[in-house]
Protein backbone atom coordinates (compact mmCIF):
# COMPACT_ATOMS: atom_id res chain seq x y z
CA UNK A 1 0.00 0.00 0.00
CA UNK A 2 1.19 3.44 -0.83
CA UNK A 3 1.74 5.49 2.25
CA UNK A 4 0.26 8.91 2.14
CA UNK A 5 2.34 11.03 4.53
CA UNK A 6 -0.34 13.67 4.72
CA UNK A 7 -2.93 11.28 5.91
CA UNK A 8 -0.73 9.21 8.17
CA UNK A 9 -1.00 11.40 11.21
CA UNK A 10 -4.48 12.67 10.71
CA UNK A 11 -6.86 11.27 13.25
CA UNK A 12 -10.55 11.69 13.70
CA UNK A 13 -12.04 14.39 15.79
CA UNK A 14 -11.93 12.75 19.22
CA UNK A 15 -15.51 13.72 19.96
CA UNK A 16 -16.63 12.05 16.78
CA UNK A 17 -14.63 8.93 17.62
CA UNK A 18 -16.07 8.93 21.11
CA UNK A 19 -19.56 9.41 19.80
CA UNK A 20 -19.22 6.48 17.40
CA UNK A 21 -17.64 4.35 20.11
CA UNK A 22 -20.59 5.15 22.35
CA UNK A 23 -22.99 4.07 19.62
CA UNK A 24 -21.06 0.81 19.16
CA UNK A 25 -21.11 0.20 22.89
CA UNK A 26 -24.83 0.89 22.90
CA UNK A 27 -25.33 -1.62 20.10
CA UNK A 28 -23.24 -4.17 21.95
CA UNK A 29 -25.40 -3.82 25.02
CA UNK A 30 -28.55 -3.89 22.95
CA UNK A 31 -27.56 -7.00 21.04
CA UNK A 32 -25.76 -9.06 23.63
CA UNK A 33 -26.50 -7.57 27.03
CA UNK A 34 -22.81 -7.27 27.84
CA UNK A 35 -20.11 -4.68 27.32
CA UNK A 36 -16.97 -4.61 25.23
CA UNK A 37 -13.69 -5.74 26.66
CA UNK A 38 -10.22 -6.94 25.88
CA UNK A 39 -8.34 -8.32 28.85
CA UNK A 40 -10.78 -11.22 29.13
CA UNK A 41 -9.35 -12.56 25.89
CA UNK A 42 -5.85 -12.67 27.40
CA UNK A 43 -7.28 -14.52 30.37
CA UNK A 44 -8.94 -17.03 28.05
CA UNK A 45 -5.71 -17.59 26.14
CA UNK A 46 -3.73 -18.13 29.33
CA UNK A 47 -6.29 -20.50 30.79
CA UNK A 48 -6.58 -22.52 27.60
CA UNK A 49 -2.83 -22.81 27.26
CA UNK A 50 -2.33 -23.84 30.85
CA UNK A 51 -5.19 -26.31 30.50
CA UNK A 52 -3.61 -27.89 27.45
CA UNK A 53 -0.23 -28.17 29.14
CA UNK A 54 -1.41 -29.28 32.58
CA UNK A 55 -5.12 -30.18 32.77
CA UNK A 56 -5.04 -31.26 36.40
CA UNK A 57 -3.45 -27.99 37.41
CA UNK A 58 -6.35 -25.95 36.06
CA UNK A 59 -8.82 -28.12 37.92
CA UNK A 60 -7.08 -27.49 41.23
CA UNK A 61 -6.81 -23.74 40.84
CA UNK A 62 -10.18 -22.16 41.57
CA UNK A 63 -9.42 -19.20 39.33
CA UNK A 64 -8.86 -21.38 36.29
CA UNK A 65 -11.56 -23.84 37.21
CA UNK A 66 -14.17 -21.08 37.31
CA UNK A 67 -13.79 -20.59 33.58
CA UNK A 68 -14.49 -24.21 32.80
CA UNK A 69 -17.76 -24.19 34.69
CA UNK A 70 -20.68 -25.68 32.78
CA UNK A 71 -18.47 -27.39 30.20
CA UNK A 72 -17.25 -24.15 28.65
CA UNK A 73 -14.00 -23.82 26.79
CA UNK A 74 -12.38 -20.50 27.63
CA UNK A 75 -10.96 -20.01 24.15
CA UNK A 76 -14.42 -19.89 22.59
CA UNK A 77 -15.21 -16.95 24.84
CA UNK A 78 -17.15 -14.04 23.34
CA UNK A 79 -14.25 -11.69 24.04
CA UNK A 80 -11.78 -13.76 22.04
CA UNK A 81 -13.86 -13.32 18.92
CA UNK A 82 -14.34 -9.66 19.69
CA UNK A 83 -10.57 -9.20 20.00
CA UNK A 84 -10.04 -10.90 16.65
CA UNK A 85 -12.51 -8.37 15.27
CA UNK A 86 -10.56 -5.49 16.84
CA UNK A 87 -7.36 -6.66 15.14
CA UNK A 88 -9.12 -6.80 11.77
CA UNK A 89 -10.85 -3.45 12.27
CA UNK A 90 -7.63 -1.74 13.32
CA UNK A 91 -5.84 -3.20 10.34
CA UNK A 92 -8.51 -1.91 7.95
CA UNK A 93 -8.41 1.57 9.42
CA UNK A 94 -4.60 1.56 9.62
CA UNK A 95 -4.11 0.48 6.02
CA UNK A 96 -6.65 2.97 4.71
CA UNK A 97 -4.65 5.80 6.21
CA UNK A 98 -1.24 4.27 5.69
CA UNK A 99 -0.39 3.46 9.29
CA UNK A 100 -0.11 -0.30 9.00
CA UNK A 101 3.53 -1.36 8.96
CA UNK A 102 5.91 -2.94 11.47
CA UNK A 103 7.73 -0.52 13.72
CA UNK A 104 8.36 0.44 17.31
CA UNK A 105 7.04 3.79 18.34
CA UNK A 106 8.88 5.57 21.11
CA UNK A 107 10.02 8.93 22.32
CA UNK A 108 13.22 10.10 20.55
CA UNK A 109 14.94 10.26 23.93
CA UNK A 110 14.85 6.52 24.55
CA UNK A 111 15.95 3.49 22.57
CA UNK A 112 13.68 0.93 21.03
CA UNK A 113 15.01 -1.73 23.36
CA UNK A 114 14.18 0.32 26.42
CA UNK A 115 10.71 1.02 25.05
CA UNK A 116 10.07 -2.70 24.53
CA UNK A 117 11.22 -3.62 28.03
CA UNK A 118 8.92 -1.06 29.52
CA UNK A 119 6.08 -2.20 27.28
CA UNK A 120 6.56 -5.72 28.63
CA UNK A 121 6.59 -4.42 32.20
CA UNK A 122 3.54 -2.26 31.60
CA UNK A 123 1.70 -5.14 29.98
CA UNK A 124 2.45 -7.44 32.87
CA UNK A 125 1.25 -4.86 35.38
CA UNK A 126 -1.88 -4.22 33.34
CA UNK A 127 -2.63 -7.91 33.00
CA UNK A 128 -2.08 -8.41 36.70
CA UNK A 129 -4.20 -5.44 37.75
CA UNK A 130 -6.99 -6.23 35.30
CA UNK A 131 -7.55 -9.55 37.04
CA UNK A 132 -8.11 -7.81 40.36
CA UNK A 133 -10.67 -5.46 38.88
CA UNK A 134 -12.16 -8.12 36.59
CA UNK A 135 -11.64 -6.00 33.53
CA UNK A 136 -9.48 -3.38 31.89
CA UNK A 137 -10.14 0.16 30.73
CA UNK A 138 -12.62 -0.92 28.07
CA UNK A 139 -14.13 -3.88 29.91
CA UNK A 140 -14.44 -2.49 33.40
CA UNK A 141 -14.28 1.28 33.19
CA UNK A 142 -15.93 2.10 29.85
CA UNK A 143 -18.61 -0.61 29.79
CA UNK A 144 -19.16 -0.24 33.53
CA UNK A 145 -19.64 3.50 33.24
CA UNK A 146 -22.08 3.08 30.37
CA UNK A 147 -24.48 1.16 32.60
CA UNK A 148 -23.75 3.55 35.50
CA UNK A 149 -22.26 0.67 37.45
CA UNK A 150 -20.57 1.63 40.70
CA UNK A 151 -17.70 -0.74 39.95
CA UNK A 152 -17.15 0.96 36.59
CA UNK A 153 -16.81 4.39 38.13
CA UNK A 154 -14.45 3.14 40.82
CA UNK A 155 -12.36 1.39 38.17
CA UNK A 156 -12.19 4.49 35.99
CA UNK A 157 -11.19 6.75 38.89
CA UNK A 158 -8.56 4.37 40.20
CA UNK A 159 -7.00 3.62 36.79
CA UNK A 160 -6.66 7.30 35.91
CA UNK A 161 -5.82 8.22 39.49
CA UNK A 162 -3.11 5.57 39.60
CA UNK A 163 -1.71 6.71 36.28
CA UNK A 164 -1.55 10.37 37.35
CA UNK A 165 0.05 9.27 40.60
CA UNK A 166 2.95 7.57 38.82
CA UNK A 167 3.09 9.70 35.67
CA UNK A 168 5.77 12.02 37.02
CA UNK A 169 8.28 9.20 37.60
CA UNK A 170 8.06 7.90 34.06
CA UNK A 171 8.02 11.23 32.20
CA UNK A 172 11.41 10.47 30.61
CA UNK A 173 9.82 7.63 28.70
CA UNK A 174 7.41 9.86 26.87
CA UNK A 175 8.38 13.52 26.68
Amino acid sequence: MKINPDKQHVYWNPYFAGFLMGIILLLTFYLTGRGLGASGAAKAIVTQTVHTVAPTHTENNTYYAEQFKGGKTPISNWLVFEVIGIVIGAFISGSLSGRAFFRVQHSPKITSRRRLWFALLGGALFGFGAQFAKGCTSGAALSGMAVLSLGGFIAMLSIFGGAYLFAYFFRKLWI
Partner: protein, 230 residues
Protein backbone atom coordinates in the same frame (compact mmCIF):
# COMPACT_ATOMS: atom_id res chain seq x y z
CA UNK B 1 12.86 0.93 12.55
CA UNK B 2 11.31 3.94 11.01
CA UNK B 3 11.83 6.44 13.75
CA UNK B 4 11.74 9.33 11.34
CA UNK B 5 8.07 8.66 10.74
CA UNK B 6 7.16 9.85 14.18
CA UNK B 7 8.51 13.36 13.90
CA UNK B 8 5.40 14.52 12.12
CA UNK B 9 3.12 16.41 14.33
CA UNK B 10 -0.09 14.60 14.90
CA UNK B 11 -3.10 16.25 13.46
CA UNK B 12 -6.56 15.83 14.74
CA UNK B 13 -9.48 16.71 12.59
CA UNK B 14 -11.35 19.49 14.26
CA UNK B 15 -14.20 19.54 11.80
CA UNK B 16 -17.50 18.88 13.43
CA UNK B 17 -19.64 18.13 10.40
CA UNK B 18 -19.66 14.40 10.82
CA UNK B 19 -20.39 14.49 14.52
CA UNK B 20 -23.18 17.01 14.03
CA UNK B 21 -24.62 14.76 11.38
CA UNK B 22 -24.42 11.77 13.73
CA UNK B 23 -25.99 13.65 16.61
CA UNK B 24 -28.87 14.75 14.39
CA UNK B 25 -29.50 11.14 13.34
CA UNK B 26 -29.59 10.11 16.98
CA UNK B 27 -31.98 12.93 17.80
CA UNK B 28 -34.25 11.79 14.98
CA UNK B 29 -34.19 8.24 16.33
CA UNK B 30 -35.08 9.56 19.77
CA UNK B 31 -37.93 11.53 18.27
CA UNK B 32 -39.20 8.41 16.55
CA UNK B 33 -38.91 6.62 19.86
CA UNK B 34 -41.19 9.19 21.45
CA UNK B 35 -43.65 8.95 18.60
CA UNK B 36 -43.87 5.19 18.89
CA UNK B 37 -43.83 5.17 22.67
CA UNK B 38 -46.84 3.27 23.75
CA UNK B 39 -47.54 3.67 27.40
CA UNK B 40 -47.63 0.27 29.02
CA UNK B 41 -50.94 0.05 30.77
CA UNK B 42 -50.23 -2.78 33.10
CA UNK B 43 -46.99 -3.14 34.99
CA UNK B 44 -45.82 -4.47 38.29
CA UNK B 45 -45.51 -1.61 40.70
CA UNK B 46 -44.31 -3.21 43.88
CA UNK B 47 -40.75 -4.18 44.63
CA UNK B 48 -39.73 -7.80 44.63
CA UNK B 49 -38.46 -7.41 48.18
CA UNK B 50 -41.92 -6.44 49.35
CA UNK B 51 -43.53 -9.37 47.58
CA UNK B 52 -41.10 -11.79 49.15
CA UNK B 53 -41.72 -10.29 52.57
CA UNK B 54 -45.46 -10.63 52.01
CA UNK B 55 -45.31 -14.32 51.15
CA UNK B 56 -45.89 -15.42 54.68
CA UNK B 57 -48.28 -12.67 55.70
CA UNK B 58 -51.63 -14.20 56.47
CA UNK B 59 -53.46 -10.87 56.16
CA UNK B 60 -54.10 -11.51 52.52
CA UNK B 61 -56.01 -14.69 53.19
CA UNK B 62 -59.66 -14.84 54.08
CA UNK B 63 -60.86 -17.96 55.81
CA UNK B 64 -64.36 -19.21 55.03
CA UNK B 65 -65.36 -18.46 58.62
CA UNK B 66 -64.49 -14.78 58.30
CA UNK B 67 -66.22 -14.53 54.96
CA UNK B 68 -69.30 -16.31 56.28
CA UNK B 69 -69.49 -13.89 59.18
CA UNK B 70 -69.17 -10.95 56.84
CA UNK B 71 -71.94 -12.36 54.68
CA UNK B 72 -74.13 -12.86 57.72
CA UNK B 73 -73.61 -9.26 58.76
CA UNK B 74 -73.94 -8.08 55.16
CA UNK B 75 -70.63 -6.29 55.56
CA UNK B 76 -70.44 -3.77 52.73
CA UNK B 77 -66.67 -3.37 52.98
CA UNK B 78 -66.12 -6.82 51.50
CA UNK B 79 -66.98 -7.40 47.87
CA UNK B 80 -66.83 -10.94 46.60
CA UNK B 81 -65.26 -11.42 43.18
CA UNK B 82 -65.78 -14.69 41.37
CA UNK B 83 -62.85 -15.47 39.09
CA UNK B 84 -64.38 -18.57 37.54
CA UNK B 85 -65.82 -18.60 34.04
CA UNK B 86 -69.23 -16.99 33.44
CA UNK B 87 -70.59 -20.49 32.90
CA UNK B 88 -69.55 -21.66 36.35
CA UNK B 89 -70.74 -18.38 37.75
CA UNK B 90 -74.19 -18.87 36.28
CA UNK B 91 -74.43 -22.28 37.89
CA UNK B 92 -74.05 -20.74 41.29
CA UNK B 93 -72.11 -18.08 43.11
CA UNK B 94 -71.88 -16.23 46.38
CA UNK B 95 -74.51 -13.55 47.02
CA UNK B 96 -73.70 -10.14 45.53
CA UNK B 97 -70.56 -11.54 43.91
CA UNK B 98 -69.11 -9.81 40.88
CA UNK B 99 -67.98 -12.11 38.09
CA UNK B 100 -64.56 -11.25 36.71
CA UNK B 101 -63.27 -14.23 34.77
CA UNK B 102 -59.56 -14.51 35.53
CA UNK B 103 -58.62 -14.74 31.85
CA UNK B 104 -60.27 -11.38 31.18
CA UNK B 105 -58.65 -9.63 34.11
CA UNK B 106 -56.84 -7.15 31.92
CA UNK B 107 -59.36 -4.71 30.64
CA UNK B 108 -59.80 -1.14 31.72
CA UNK B 109 -63.18 -1.78 33.33
CA UNK B 110 -61.92 -4.53 35.56
CA UNK B 111 -58.81 -2.72 36.72
CA UNK B 112 -60.90 0.42 37.22
CA UNK B 113 -63.32 -1.65 39.30
CA UNK B 114 -60.56 -2.72 41.68
CA UNK B 115 -59.19 0.81 41.87
CA UNK B 116 -62.64 2.15 42.72
CA UNK B 117 -62.95 -0.40 45.50
CA UNK B 118 -59.63 0.81 46.83
CA UNK B 119 -60.84 4.39 46.82
CA UNK B 120 -63.97 3.36 48.68
CA UNK B 121 -61.85 1.51 51.28
CA UNK B 122 -63.40 -1.78 50.29
CA UNK B 123 -61.74 -5.13 50.05
CA UNK B 124 -62.17 -7.46 47.13
CA UNK B 125 -62.33 -11.10 48.14
CA UNK B 126 -61.33 -13.30 45.23
CA UNK B 127 -62.58 -16.82 45.13
CA UNK B 128 -62.60 -19.58 42.56
CA UNK B 129 -63.01 -23.30 42.25
CA UNK B 130 -60.04 -23.70 44.57
CA UNK B 131 -57.78 -21.46 46.60
CA UNK B 132 -55.05 -21.80 44.03
CA UNK B 133 -57.38 -20.62 41.26
CA UNK B 134 -58.10 -17.42 43.17
CA UNK B 135 -54.45 -17.07 44.03
CA UNK B 136 -53.38 -16.36 40.44
CA UNK B 137 -55.39 -13.15 39.86
CA UNK B 138 -54.74 -12.19 43.46
CA UNK B 139 -50.96 -12.31 43.04
CA UNK B 140 -51.11 -10.37 39.79
CA UNK B 141 -53.29 -7.61 41.17
CA UNK B 142 -51.27 -7.38 44.33
CA UNK B 143 -48.01 -7.06 42.46
CA UNK B 144 -49.53 -4.34 40.31
CA UNK B 145 -50.00 -2.32 43.47
CA UNK B 146 -53.72 -2.99 43.94
CA UNK B 147 -53.37 -4.19 47.47
CA UNK B 148 -56.98 -4.20 48.62
CA UNK B 149 -57.45 -7.75 47.37
CA UNK B 150 -57.58 -10.92 49.40
CA UNK B 151 -58.25 -14.49 48.44
CA UNK B 152 -60.43 -17.13 49.95
CA UNK B 153 -58.49 -20.09 51.31
CA UNK B 154 -61.04 -22.61 50.08
CA UNK B 155 -62.84 -23.26 46.83
CA UNK B 156 -66.41 -22.36 46.08
CA UNK B 157 -67.54 -25.93 46.89
CA UNK B 158 -67.05 -25.33 50.60
CA UNK B 159 -69.25 -22.24 50.55
CA UNK B 160 -71.83 -23.73 48.24
CA UNK B 161 -74.36 -24.69 50.90
CA UNK B 162 -75.08 -21.07 51.70
CA UNK B 163 -75.53 -21.90 55.34
CA UNK B 164 -73.32 -19.08 56.63
CA UNK B 165 -73.99 -19.66 60.30
CA UNK B 166 -72.81 -23.23 60.07
CA UNK B 167 -69.70 -22.33 58.10
CA UNK B 168 -68.88 -19.55 60.54
CA UNK B 169 -69.17 -21.94 63.43
CA UNK B 170 -66.98 -24.57 61.80
CA UNK B 171 -63.59 -24.86 63.46
CA UNK B 172 -61.79 -26.46 60.53
CA UNK B 173 -58.54 -24.75 59.67
CA UNK B 174 -58.05 -24.30 55.98
CA UNK B 175 -54.44 -23.34 55.85
CA UNK B 176 -52.77 -24.81 52.84
CA UNK B 177 -49.34 -24.61 54.42
CA UNK B 178 -50.00 -26.51 57.63
CA UNK B 179 -48.39 -29.92 57.46
CA UNK B 180 -51.33 -32.21 57.91
CA UNK B 181 -49.39 -35.22 59.07
CA UNK B 182 -46.14 -35.33 60.97
CA UNK B 183 -44.43 -37.38 58.32
CA UNK B 184 -41.10 -37.44 60.06
CA UNK B 185 -42.64 -39.17 63.03
CA UNK B 186 -44.65 -41.34 60.75
CA UNK B 187 -41.65 -42.54 58.84
CA UNK B 188 -39.60 -43.17 61.94
CA UNK B 189 -42.51 -45.08 63.41
CA UNK B 190 -42.75 -47.13 60.31
CA UNK B 191 -39.08 -47.98 60.52
CA UNK B 192 -39.48 -49.02 64.12
CA UNK B 193 -42.37 -51.19 63.14
CA UNK B 194 -40.43 -52.75 60.37
CA UNK B 195 -37.61 -53.90 62.57
CA UNK B 196 -38.13 -57.58 63.16
CA UNK B 197 -36.72 -57.78 66.73
CA UNK B 198 -38.43 -56.57 69.83
CA UNK B 199 -36.00 -53.71 70.46
CA UNK B 200 -38.20 -51.29 68.63
CA UNK B 201 -41.20 -51.77 70.84
CA UNK B 202 -39.18 -50.76 73.89
CA UNK B 203 -38.51 -47.43 72.34
CA UNK B 204 -39.76 -44.42 74.24
CA UNK B 205 -41.87 -42.51 71.69
CA UNK B 206 -44.42 -45.17 71.22
CA UNK B 207 -46.65 -44.53 68.26
CA UNK B 208 -50.28 -43.97 69.08
CA UNK B 209 -51.38 -46.51 66.54
CA UNK B 210 -49.14 -49.27 67.82
CA UNK B 211 -51.81 -51.86 67.87
CA UNK B 212 -50.07 -55.18 68.13
CA UNK B 213 -49.17 -55.97 64.60
CA UNK B 214 -49.44 -59.55 63.72
CA UNK B 215 -47.18 -59.64 60.71
CA UNK B 216 -44.54 -57.03 60.20
CA UNK B 217 -43.19 -57.34 56.73
CA UNK B 218 -39.93 -55.62 55.85
CA UNK B 219 -40.16 -53.04 53.14
CA UNK B 220 -38.25 -55.14 50.62
CA UNK B 221 -41.07 -57.21 49.18
CA UNK B 222 -43.07 -54.09 48.58
CA UNK B 223 -40.18 -52.61 46.65
CA UNK B 224 -39.93 -55.79 44.64
CA UNK B 225 -43.55 -55.63 43.80
CA UNK B 226 -43.06 -52.12 42.61
CA UNK B 227 -40.74 -53.20 39.87
CA UNK B 228 -43.42 -55.08 38.07
CA UNK B 229 -45.69 -52.13 38.55
CA UNK B 230 -43.40 -49.95 36.59
Amino acid sequence: MSDNKTVNHMIELTKTNRITFGVIIVLVILLLGFLFLKPVKYAFNTTLDKEIADLKVADYQISPQVLAQALLKKDASMVCVDVRSPFEFAKGHLPEAQNIYKVNLFSDDQIEFFKDLKKGNKTAVLYGGSASEANVPFMILKQMGIDNVKYLTVGYEVMKSGNWAEIAANTTQYNDETPIVDFAKFISDAQIQNQPTGTATDNAPKPEISKPKTVVKPAAPAAGGGDEGC
